[in-house]
């Protein structure tokens, strides 16, 4: 093992002497967490809704008052009165307002006569997120308007009551497992097989190959150093991410499982990249691959959007993607207060994946020039 540790020592000495490299590999994923967490996690606010009142009756006034109540409270939109529908629609098209609500003539009369009163909602459906928010708000508004003044003692409609197991999870917390996984992957890209490709390009590898080190020892040393770098990165972002998201873990077993997941994720990723690079000589190839690979592995993992919403073929990709198991494991430990029972499939997959890719690398690796 002395030779394995010598290879690892060389890499780690260089890494820990390069503050720029350490900061890049550890802090950029943190910036990603902050930006994505806030960009995706927020509710729609401060938009503008055009309101065209063609009725001017008491029921129309009731609708407008409710819209103003939304503005004052949730501030999802600011209702702005328009005189004609055509101008409102034109302004939705050119983005001056995000939607238009049309209260047709005789709306109040139809409400009193109970003859199917309608309110028209015009939305820019190229922006699905805002249009679905508007639809939801308007449906809630319609439900409130439809509610009887006096509730029946015996409800005749079936109601569903939701029980949330965990406190409300902000999107930033939801993203934290993905960000930890991504931080580990980013660090892996400056280690393992990729380092060896750079060594090959500079001829440094000849120095190693004339020593008695074996191929598997060389791979193990490079992967060990790469995994340590990735673990350091994973630990830093886990700690900072937990502080930012207000997650606290006191249970020593959960801390142990969390550390185990970091170790296994780092090992699986470094062995995977070394396996992919085992026969590559051109240092431009990893640079070309990893920008795309990052996306190919991260998005199918369920880090941002649940796997259950994917089409079948993408679920297959997710099933073989080590990111999926890392994200699932971190989510179970950080957000669900779960134990080993929740993560053993993830732990098993990552461990088997590590062994298989390391073995594959050892088989593919050429110990000659």
């Amino acid at each position: 093992m002395t030779r394995v540790f010598a290879i690892a020592e060389r890499e780690l000495l260089k890494f820990f002497r390069s503050p720029a490299l350490m900061i890049t590999s550890m802090l950029l994923p943190l910036a990603q967490l902050l930006i994505l967490g806030n960009a995706f996690g927020g509710r729609v606010q401060h938009t503008t809704l055009a309101v065209v009142d063609q009725d001017h009756g008491p029921q129309a006034l009731r609708v407008i008052e409710m819209l103003r109540a939304v503005h004052v409270n949730a501030n999802t939109f600011n209702p702005v009165m328009y005189d004609d529908q055509q101008t409102a629609v034109e302004d939705v098209r050119n983005g001056r307002v995000q939607g238009a609500l049309v209260i047709p003539a005789n709306f109040s009369r139809k409400v009193y006569a109970q003859t199917r009163p309608h309110i028209g909602l015009i939305v820019d459906n190229t922006d699905g997120f805002i249009s679905s928010t508007y639809e939801g708000e308007m449906q809630a508004l319609a439900d409130a308007l439809n509610a009887p003044d006096i509730e029946q003692r015996m409800a005749q409609k079936i109601a569903v009551s939701t029980v949330e197991l965990y406190p409300y999870i902000e999107y930033m917390k939801y993203l934290l497992p993905g960000s930890i996984t991504l931080a580990i992957f980013v660090s892996v890209m400056i280690g393992g097989g990729i380092v060896y490709i750079d060594d090959k390009a500079r001829g440094i590898h000849e120095g190693y190959l004339v020593t008695p080190i074996t191929g598997p020892e060389l791979i193990l040393g490079l992967n060990l150093a790469g995994a340590v770098k990735a673990m350091a990165s994973g630990l830093v972002i886990t700690t900072i991410g937990m502080l930012l998201s207000g997650i606290v873990i006191f249970n020593p077993f959960r801390i142990f499982w969390l550390l185990l997941l970091i170790v296994l994720t780092a090992s699986a990723f470094i062995c995977m990249t070394s396996f992919m690079m085992a026969r590559v000589d051109d240092p431009m190839i990893p640079r070309a691959i990893f920008g795309v690979l990052n996306t190919l592995l991260f998005f199918p993992s369920g880090a941002i959007y649940p796997v259950g919403a994917f089409p079948t073929w993408l679920r297959v990709v997710a099933a073989v993607d080590p990111f999926t198991y890392a994200v699932h494991g971190f989510r179970a430990m950080l957000l669900k207060e779960a134990g080993f029972a929740a993560i053993w499939p993830d732990v098993t997959f990552l461990a088997v994946f590590t062994i298989l890719t390391w073995t594959g690398t050892a088989l593919l690796f050429k110990r000659t020039l």
Partner: protein, 331 residues
């Protein structure tokens, strides 16, 4: 042209004891049909400095890479330090120190760290590492720089780091692949002196590849000239020089010489051969340097051919190379 490769020379290296340090037999290396090394055989004795001389692309590095286990041998056999490199590559690796052509030290690590890591790779026991490294740094005059990052050292100093690195496990055979390429003249001389000193201190067998004639002449006990993958000559430098017809080389440049000028020069008494090089430059090999020079200048005066430059020198390894390969090293 017949190569100077005698049977006894192959069987018995110049120096050494009972068995050769390196024994290469009919070694061949082919890359997808291209023969880079073609049926080469030689031996290097213990304590001998053996030079492989040839232009870039001659097959020197390929040959050294086969002997140092870096590339597999297509056919033939190389035994290094008593280990057949194809059968027991690990044994061979432990017996040899190698300085490849490329700089293999890590620029971001210190001199000491580089040596320490390689000592570990070679399995040098922990208790011996520091004294060995200190001694080596002393030998290559880098003790003062032990904690400096290699990237802060000059090219010559980096080469000395490489030399120390190659010796960290006390090998008995030392391979140096073009050790002074890219160095300035002062650094080259410093590296030569270092190699001679270390070789004498440690009684190493040294195999050195180079395309510098002066380097081969100064360092090597015997020289093998390699061209197009073949061994074209193998002898001591002095013997190789003697093997070239004519003891003196006259290099002369004429302005607008006539068409039959080569034939005119060949008729001068004592001239063994005339080569017409570019831009009116002629190279004459002769046994009678001063007489031939006088006769040549007289001839030029008679024929109204102006002499632009003229130099007279003894035979060098350059002449040996031209003699055996039919071209200069830089062709």
């Amino acid at each position: 042209m017949s190569a100077v490769i005698s049977g006894p020379m192959l069987a018995e290296p110049v120096k050494g004891g009972h068995k050769p340090a390196i024994k290469v037999e009919k070694i061949v290396k082919q890359f997808r049909g291209f023969t880079a090394v073609d049926d080469i055989s030689f031996q290097v004795g213990e304590g001998e400095v053996f030079g492989l001389l040839g232009p870039n692309g001659a097959g020197k590095s390929t040959l050294i890479r086969m002997m140092t286990t870096l590339i597999p041998i297509t056919s033939g056999r190389a035994v290094v330090g008593g280990f057949d490199v194809s059968v027991d590559p690990d044994g061979a690796r432990r017996a040899i120190g190698v300085i490849p052509q490329a700089m293999t030290s890590d620029l971001d690590l210190s001199v000491y760290e580089n040596l320490s890591i390689f000592a570990k790779l070679y399995g040098v026991p922990r208790s011996k590492r520091k004294p060995i490294i200190d001694e080596l740094l002393e030998s290559v005059d880098l003790s003062k720089w032990r904690d400096a990052e290699v990237k802060k050292l000059s090219g010559g100093m980096r080469r000395r780091v490489e030399i120390a690195r190659g010796l960290v496990h006390s090998p008995s055979i030392f391979f140096l692949d073009e050790p002074t390429t890219g160095l300035d003249p002062v650094s080259r001389v410093a590296v030569w002196e270092m190699i001679v000193k270390i070789k004498e201190q440690r009684n190493l067998a040294v195999l050195i590849t180079t395309h510098y004639m002066d380097e081969a002449d100064r360092l090597c006990d015997r020289i093998a000239i390699v061209d197009h993958g073949k061994l074209v000559a193998l002898e001591k430098p002095a013997v190789l020089k003697q093997s070239v017809p004519g003891s003196t080389v006259i290099e002369v440049q004429f302005i607008a010489p006539p068409q039959d000028w080569v034939q005119e020069l060949e008729r001068i008494p004592g001239v063994r051969s005339v080569q017409n090089e570019a831009a009116g430059m002629f190279r004459l090999l002769t046994d009678e340097g001063s007489k031939t020079t006088t006769a040549m200048v007289d001839l030029a005066n008679r024929k109204n051919v102006e002499v632009k430059t003229l130099s007279v020198q003894n035979t060098t390894l350059d002449d040996v190379f031209v003699h055996y390969t039919g071209r200069a090293l830089h062709d």
